[in-house]
C-alpha cells in the first residue's frame, strides 16, 4: 500500500496529466519530498518558506492538514491526500 494523492487540474502539468498519484513518507513534508523526486517542481508549487502556500489547501482523509500539524502531519499507508486550490465556494 501507499498514500494516494489527488492532484487538481491546475497542477497536472507536473504529473504528466495524472489525477491520482502515489507516494510514501511518515509526514506530509516527507510525502511531498518523495513526490517531488518523481514529479519535479511540484513541491515548489505547494510549499513556500512559511509552509503550505496561502491559496493551497491540503486535506488528509478529508481533514484540512492546517489543523493537524500542517507539513508535520503524520501520514501512513492507506491514507488519501487531496490537494485543492482555495476557492470562494458556492451559494453565498
Amino acid at each position: 500500500m501507499a498514500i494516494e494523492v489527488r492532484i487538481p487540474t491546475i497542477l497536472r502539468t507536473y504529473t504528466g496529466g495524472q489525477k491520482l498519484i502515489e507516494g510514501s513518507g511518515s509526514t506530509l513534508d516527507e510525502l511531498i519530498a518523495d513526490l517531488d523526486g518523481r514529479y519535479g517542481g511540484l513541491r515548489e508549487r505547494l510549499v513556500d518558506d512559511a509552509g503550505l502556500r496561502r491559496f493551497i489547501n491540503v486535506y488528509l482523509n478529508d481533514e484540512d492538514v492546517r489543523f493537524i500539524g500542517g507539513l508535520s502531519a503524520a501520514v501512513s499507508d492507506g491514507d488519501t491526500v487531496t490537494v485543492l486550490p482555495a476557492v470562494a465556494g458556492g451559494a453565498r
Binding site: 491546475i10 484540512d64 458556492g90 453565498r92
Partner: protein
C-alpha cells in the same frame, strides 16, 4: 408569535434534536433550523446586519444601488431587505447556479449579472469588483469581508445556541464567507471552554476549481483560522447521501450544504462515541431543499444525482 413586520421575525430559530441520527443518548446531534428565517436561509441575518451597518455609516440612502457577488441565498436575503427599504439590487452570480434562485431574485425585483461558470464564486467576486470600480456610486456590501456579516452571528446565532444548548461541545457549519463560523465561533469560544468549532466545506467537481494560476486563489477576508478547531472537505456524494438521510431518517428537508455539515458532524459523533466522551453537537441547517429541487438531488439513485450535480454549485 407576533412581529411588527417580516424583517422583525429574523432569527430566534428552533434548535431540534436529531435522535435517530445520534449514536447514543450521550452523543447527541442538534439541528439549528435557519430555514425558518424570513426568506428561508441563514443569510437573512448577515443581510440585515450588513444593510443596517451601511445605513448607519451613511453609505446607503433611499434609491441607492446595492451590488453583491452572490450565487443565491445572500442575494435573496438582500433582495427582501432592498425591496422593503427602497434600494435597487444587482447580483453577480455564476451562470451554473440553480434556476430557482434566479427566478426568485427576479421576482423580488433584483437584476442579475451572470459570471462564467468556470471558477465559480471566485469569478463572481472578480466581476463584481470590476463593476464596483466602474460605478463608484454603487454600494458593494461584500459579504466575504464585511465585519457585520460575522457580527450578526456573534450577536444572534451564538447567543441563541448557548441559551438553547448550554452543554454544547461542538458547533458545525458550512464554510463559505466564513461569517457564520467566525461570529458564532468567537462567541462560543469566549464562553464555553473547550468547545470545538468545525467547518464543513463542499468539495465540488473540477470545473469549479478552474484552471487559473494558484496565486489567484481566494480566502475570504473574514476568515480567521484561529477561530476553528478543524475543517473538513466533503465530497458531493457524501453531502448528497447525508441530505437524503436527514429527510428519510429525521424528516428534515434541508438543502445540500446541510448534508455536507451533517457528514462532518457524524464524523465527530463517531469519534466521540469511540472515545467514550459525551458530546452535544450543534449543526447549522443553512436552508431547506426547495431551491435545489431542479438540481435532481432528491430523486433517482445517488449515482444519478451525483452525476447531475457535477459542475453545479450546490452549496
Amino acid at each position: 408569535m407576533r412581529y411588527e413586520s417580516l424583517l422583525d421575525a429574523l432569527g430566534g430559530t428552533p434548535l431540534v434534536g436529531l435522535p435517530r441520527l445520534s449514536p447514543s443518548p450521550d452523543v447527541r446531534l442538534w439541528a439549528k433550523l435557519e430555514d425558518r428565517n424570513p426568506t428561508g436561509s441563514v443569510k437573512d441575518r448577515a443581510a440585515a446586519y450588513m444593510v443596517a451597518s451601511a445605513e448607519k455609516d451613511g453609505l446607503l440612502y433611499p434609491g441607492a444601488t446595492i451590488l453583491e457577488p452572490t450565487s443565491g441565498n445572500t442575494g435573496i436575503s438582500l433582495a427582501l431587505v432592498a425591496r422593503l427599504r427602497g434600494y435597487k439590487l444587482i447580483c453577480v452570480m455564476p451562470e451554473n447556479t440553480s434556476a430557482e434562485r434566479r427566478t426568485l431574485l427576479e421576482a423580488y425585483g433584483a437584476s442579475i449579472v451572470s459570471s462564467p461558470a468556470a471558477g465559480g464564486s471566485n469569478e463572481a467576486v472578480r466581476v463584481a469588483q470590476g463593476l464596483a470600480a466602474e460605478h463608484p456610486d454603487w454600494v458593494m456590501l461584500y459579504q466575504y469581508g464585511n465585519e457585520a456579516n460575522a457580527r450578526a452571528h456573534y450577536e444572534t446565532t451564538g447567543p441563541e445556541l448557548l441559551a438553547d444548548l448550554p452543554e454544547i461541545t461542538h458547533f458545525v457549519a458550512g464554510l463559505g464567507t466564513s461569517g457564520t463560523l467566525m461570529g458564532t465561533g468567537r462567541f462560543l469560544r469566549e464562553r464555553v471552554p473547550g468547545v470545538q468549532i468545525v467547518a464543513a466545506e463542499p468539495r465540488y467537481g473540477e470545473l469549479v476549481y478552474g484552471l487559473r494560476n494558484l496565486s489567484e486563489g481566494f480566502v475570504p477576508e473574514l476568515y480567521d483560522e484561529s477561530v476553528l478547531t478543524s475543517r473538513f472537505s466533503v465530497a458531493s456524494a457524501d453531502a448528497l447521501r447525508r441530505t437524503r438521510e436527514l429527510l428519510s431518517v429525521e424528516g428534515l428537508f434541508a438543502g445540500i450544504s446541510s448534508g455536507c455539515v451533517l457528514h462532518a458532524a457524524l464524523g465527530l459523533a463517531t469519534k466521540a462515541q469511540a472515545a467514550g466522551e459525551r458530546a452535544d453537537i450543534a449543526l447549522l441547517i443553512a436552508d431547506a431543499g426547495w431551491k435545489y429541487l431542479s438540481t435532481g438531488a432528491y430523486g433517482g439513485t445517488l449515482a444519478e444525482a451525483e452525476a447531475r450535480l457535477e459542475g453545479q454549485l450546490w452549496a
